[in-house]
Symmetry: C2
């Protein structure tokens, strides 16, 4: 298989180059993206994407329910709607959040075009260029992209297998304050974090909330995977412990289907008002038909039982990945053992560079996301994110086998020629969220 | 009927007041909004909204087509999609634009969450705070809101019944350049403009393109109503005359249905690339199911014949409005006679103030949008926008009768007590796009 040339465009050919906004400079198509295009070929096992597997949804029953929806309420469902989101949709979202012990009022919810837009609107409401956003080290590539798009400075806070380290958070706040920086919020994914799969313990949640309160720090809690627990019951959300100081982001993409693009923000009342006005300037209103469709699903189907079906399906896939890693990884490689969600985070032995090896991995018909994508500061070269959400279990297992082979060859090259001898390492920060869904 | 108190919130009660971004200050709920909530009561004839009338869509046939779509292709239609928009959707958009003589390639199209998001993304790509955007005087309230959200300076360019005045455009460019301002683009709605209903003549189109080329000015052409011609054939789009220098915004909201939230940008290639990356940071991808639904509609239905049905329906409504205005308006009142679209623009006699009279009009069971909403500079107090898109013809006629009564009383008050005697005029710039769709 031949690999494409890096797709980086020569911006000298762009006649609009002097007309763009400051925030637009540096927006370029990354070389990694071109690789992902190749990784989508059927012969490649892609452990790179974050696409949920929705094959188990009851398509025929859904088709019939939506048929009735259009026949009976089509004139409303296909019309403009509320900038805040439809009231019946927000009532249903209150029910969904109650599964994670959140007590909320529908009036404090703003429906968004997927939870990516929730992230975008929250950043837009709070962040001026140069403002600091704190994020776990590592964090979701799509969030880092949004923070960059608003010209924020991203400061990572260390985490371990229990989540964000409280002392690291406290130290960051003290140091940044001393440096005169404006810290706007802490962005955190407490459950089955993307990319590490780590879940914050209850103790850590309390500690983080206490530190945030002490320092007047707003918490933005992103929780797309919280209900996809594979072992225990869902943990209480940060928002359930502190209603005043947490902006909560939710999504139907993983518990139902992403193609409708419906997510939401639950925010303190004053913030909610700004978000609605911002949503109106951004889209007039979030997708209306999608809201009718999802509310119909939540009304007429046993959505909790469907989540159980998803849990069983993802558990089998996670187990296939953990078994494959156990059987095929090199000595010196370690990885997380997630209790839910989609992702395993791998630490490679010294001398290996995940981004440099990606082209050779794709040639060996396996793809992953290099760890550097999840850091704003260039770290992550000895990490990779593996997703167990999309390929079937036997393919996942085979993918880890191929990956094991690639790692073995890489390590041999390193031992023979030294670091970076086989291929120079191109540090590429411009990877956007797209590979995350492909 | 009692009217609500203005909904302006006391921001001193907002604990987050110091945390917001610069762009968020000044985002407040306007008093006009509260009035519009009252205007939505069934006894009020609302000539204020911009909602299309979609009752004529073939709902049962659509329901059946979408039923098959979900049964047969649901796994793709409900999954994540491309940040640029689905290829089959972009192919269909090329066909739609060909109706207005645009020759385009699907690769240069970016699908958006309604054309409001197209406007948002284009502004985000080009505009830093303080940059100037030129817009017709008056212009679409939702566009002004977006430009303000990106902290642009909006400079209006005079228009007459033939569209933008070329000399006014040239003078604005020269003056702004001399003042050291960065002008990022001209925002224009050439067909059945919102709010005036005016259509740029072919001669004006050529003149505007020539001036733009001469001054290196980008044109953003917003064309949601272009195919809703009520008299002649659609005019050639500006984009059809200059592919290099025009960013074109389109929408399915008025030729099909707004609830799917699908619009698009057609942009020169380099700009298109920035827009895709920006779209990914904003939403990951535009609504996928909506794109499948609309492409299904365009594939399986005679959408051109449906536009003819819409044209006949809107023509009858426009004629009812023009007849009503002719029968009921005060002497000294003038108005535009649109050849398509949704809107008539009214100039009131001296002494009348459209925003000040709105509460009394709503009490008299008729609503309109005050002209001030469509100006960034406080003008428009002697104007109102009347929409003929949503109420049935007899209600539209009755609405103009009620409006005539209100104007008569207002003029009597003015003649008796002088300007502003009956109620002080609250200049309210914060009106957002929401009333436009309600």
């Amino acid at each position: 298989m031949s690999l494409p040339e890096p797709a980086r465009r020569d911006t000298r050919l762009d006649p609009y180059i002097d007309a763009y906004a400051e925030r637009t400079h540096g927006l370029t198509v990354s070389a990694v993206r071109a690789l992902f295009a190749v990784a989508n070929r059927p012969e490649v096992v892609s452990l790179a994407g974050g696409m949920p597997n929705i094959a188990d949804l009851p398509r025929e029953a859904l088709a019939a329910a939506f048929d009735r929806l259009i026949t009976e309420r089509g004139t409303q469902a296909m019309q403009y709607g509320s900038g805040q989101g439809e009231p019946f949709m927000r009532d249903k979202i209150v029910e969904v959040m109650a599964e994670e012990q959140i007590q909320a009022h529908a009036d404090d919810i703003v429906v968004t075009c997927g939870s990516q837009q929730a992230l975008d609107l929250v950043t837009r409401v709070f962040c001026d260029p140069g403002d600091v956003v704190l994020a776990e080290a590592p964090s979701y590539v799509g969030a880092l992209g949004t923070f960059r798009a608003y010209q924020c400075e991203i400061v990572h806070v260390a985490m371990d297998e229990h989540g964000i380290e409280p002392e690291a958070l406290r130290n960051a706040l003290v140091t940044l304050k001393a440096a005169g920086k404006r810290v706007k919020f802490l962005y955190t994914i407490p459950n089955f974090q993307n990319p590490t799969g780590v879940t914050q313990t209850l103790e850590r949640r309390h500690a983080i909330i206490a530190i945030a309160k002490e320092h007047g720090l707003l918490i933005v809690e992103d929780n797309p995977y919280g209900l996809l627990t594979l072992e225990a019951e869902p943990m209480p959300a940060l928002r359930s412990m502190d209603a005043d100081n947490v902006v909560y982001l939710g999504s139907f993409s993983k518990i139902f289907a992403p193609g409708f693009r419906v997510g939401w923000v639950l925010a303190p009342h004053a913030v909610r008002e700004k978000l609605v006005l911002t949503q109106e300037a951004a889209t007039l209103c979030p997708p209306v038909f999608s809201q009718y469709a999802i509310a119909t699903y939540l009304d007429q189907f046993d959505w909790r039982a469907q989540i159980d079906v998803f849990r069983d399906m993802y558990r089998e896939r996670r187990d296939a990945m953990l078994a494959g890693l156990s059987d095929h990884m090199l000595e010196g490689t370690t990885w997380t053992r997630p209790k839910g969600g989609f992702f395993v985070w791998v630490n490679l032995p010294e001398g290996l560079d995940s981004q440099a090896m990606l082209p050779r991995a794709v040639t060996a018909r396996v793809a992953f996301t290099p760890g550097t994508a999840f850091y704003a500061d260039g770290l992550g070269s000895r990490n990779m994110r593996l997703s167990f959400c999309f390929p079937p279990p036997d393919r996942i297992y085979e993918g880890t086998r191929r990956l094991g082979e690639v790692l073995k060859q890489e390590l041999e090259m390193y031992r023979t020629f030294g670091l970076g001898a086989a291929s120079p390492r191109h540090l590429d920060q411009s990877i956007g969220p797209a590979p995350d869904i492909s």
